[in-house]
């Protein structure tokens, strides 16, 4: 399958925005990517296997609700940043500046 990579992850893919991926599910596809581009998975998915709040994974044109989402070899997968401005909350609030 073709996997499109968001630009903040180019440091893992050697600058490529499109790579080939394998796997029957999103989880398997990410595991495959991480084998070839070590470290890329944890930037997208946390240690509880949840997609990080500001990342999105689309299979075709549908957002994958979780990592169990099936993927067919003919489909395109897009790993995207959500349009969030990169700042989830004000910095540190009550206990910070």
């Amino acid at each position: 399958m073709r996997v499109f990579i968001a630009s903040p992850l180019y440091s893992y893919t050697g600058g490529r925005g499109e790579v080939e991926g394998t796997g029957a599910t999103v989880a398997e596809m990410l595991a495959d990517l991480d084998r070839r581009f070590p470290g890329i998975r944890r930037r997208i998915v946390d240690e509880q296997d949840r997609v990080r709040p500001h990342m999105r994974i689309y299979v075709g044109t549908e957002a994958a609700p979780d990592l169990d989402q099936p993927v067919r070899p003919s489909q395109e997968v897009h790993i995207l940043q959500s349009l969030s401005g990169g700042r989830r909350r004000s910095p540190e609030a009550a206990c910070s500046a």
Binding site: R52, H54, P91, A93, S96, A97
Partner: protein, 380 residues
């Protein structure tokens, strides 16, 4: 930054910002500086620390606004960076339970000189991790991440950027004796390397809680242990400045001796590495809605030379008016030099420095991104 002869030593300033890291290299006189950077432009840098055991290894706690957190390592003093292969991460929760995830690593502390390669990390949400290979791989301290966190409960978790574990202090006489600050949560001590923890908050106010004298739930902003007198602790708390002399366990509010018009609220605190009685703080406006800016728009550093019995204002060279600066808890440090150099960074992107222990200040840099951390080191 233990006392080091100034004569031929150069100073390295490590600046972490919301948009990357910057290194300033100072000549032995500390008059001429060379900027190197940005490094990891666009990445949020929460902490950037040089290993004092080899003066070459640097660890950077970083993430971006979208991507998960990582630890970056340099073994050539910041020239090149590689990503840690196993950064701090909580244990996977059993099926059906909602486990915690590290949002970011907030604090990095090297171990003792007798523990080469050992590092500690504090995270948000609250978490304590250890590396024994120079920061390449990290493992969680379950006595903290499971047991202490369960005791703390939801305290502090609702603040917009979450609770942070910081000020990981190791007793130089005993590597198993640890202190840690939890904002919010309080100060805690372990005598067994982190396996178990006891609260150390007696005497500390908690005006933001219904119980004004709780065992836990306090909000230390930063805590420091004096390397030459390890039984002497100081903390800048959400509710004042405190000192604790062990084996006592009741903190004394030394901030009550600050001018009432300035107050004793702030974030950072620096200890003189050669004098356990001398410390500096940078007060902020913690009144009403908590502007967290210089009181009255007149920034100043305050020094005590008698362990907090009295304080003197040090503002020569700083703006005299209309300067609404904010300094975060990791953004004030000393270089260990003689005389001691002091450096602080502002959220408005300025670096201010003094080479005479705060008597006179000058601006080293402007227009940097929002500064999260300033660390200084003397290099041979």
């Amino acid at each position: 930054m233990a006392g080091l002869k100034r004569s031929k030593r150069r100073t390295l300033l490590m600046i972490g910002t919301r948009k990357g890291a910057f290194l300033f290299h100072g000549d032995p006189s500390r008059r001429t500086w060379r900027l190197n950077g940005p490094h990891l432009l666009g990445c949020i840098v929460h902490h950037l620390v040089l290993d004092p055991r080899d003066n070459h290894t640097m660890l950077m706690a970083t993430r971006t606004g979208h991507l998960g957190p990582v630890i970056m390592r340099s073994t050539d003093r910041g020239r090149t960076w590689t990503e840690a292969s196993l950064p701090p991460a909580f244990a996977k929760a059993p099926e059906g339970q909602r486990g915690r995830a590290v949002d970011h690593t907030f604090w990095l502390s090297p171990g003792l000189p007798s523990q080469p390669g050992l590092w500690w990390a504090g995270t948000s949400p609250h978490g304590l991790f250890r590396s024994q290979d120079g920061g390449v791989t990290w493992s969680g301290i379950e006595g903290f991440n499971r047991d202490l966190v369960a005791r703390i409960g939801t305290i502090g978790q609702d603040t917009p950027d979450g609770a942070v574990t910081h000020s990981i202090l190791v007793d130089p006489r005993d590597p198993a004796h640890l202190y840690v600050g939890l904002s919010g949560g309080g100060s805690f001590e372990s005598l067994d390397g982190g396996a178990s923890w006891r609260a150390l908050n007696s005497g500390v106010a908690a005006t933001f809680l219904p119980d004004k004298d709780p065992e836990i739930g306090h909000d230390p902003h930063i805590m420091a242990l004096h390397p030459l007198k390890p039984d002497r602790l100081y903390q800048q708390n959400h509710c004042g400045i405190y000192r604790l002399d062990r084996p006592g366990d009741v903190w004394t509010r030394i901030g009550m001796n600050m001018p009432k018009t300035v107050g004793d609220i702030g974030f950072p605190l620096v200890l003189h590495p050669r004098d356990p009685d001398t410390l500096w703080v940078i007060p902020m406006d913690g009144t009403t809605v908590w502007p967290r800016t210089s009181p009255g728009g007149k920034p100043a550093v305050y020094r005590s030379r008698n362990a907090g019995k009295s304080w003197e204002r040090q503002d020569a060279g700083l703006p005299m008016r209309d300067a609404w600066l904010t300094i975060k808890r990791q953004a004030f440090d000393d270089d260990g030099g003689e005389p001691l150099g002091l450096y602080f960074g502002t959220t408005s992107g300025e670096i201010w420095m003094s080479t005479d222990e705060g008597k006179r200040w000058r601006c080293l840099a402007r227009h940097l991104p929002e500064i999260y951390t300033v660390q200084a080191a003397s290099l041979g």
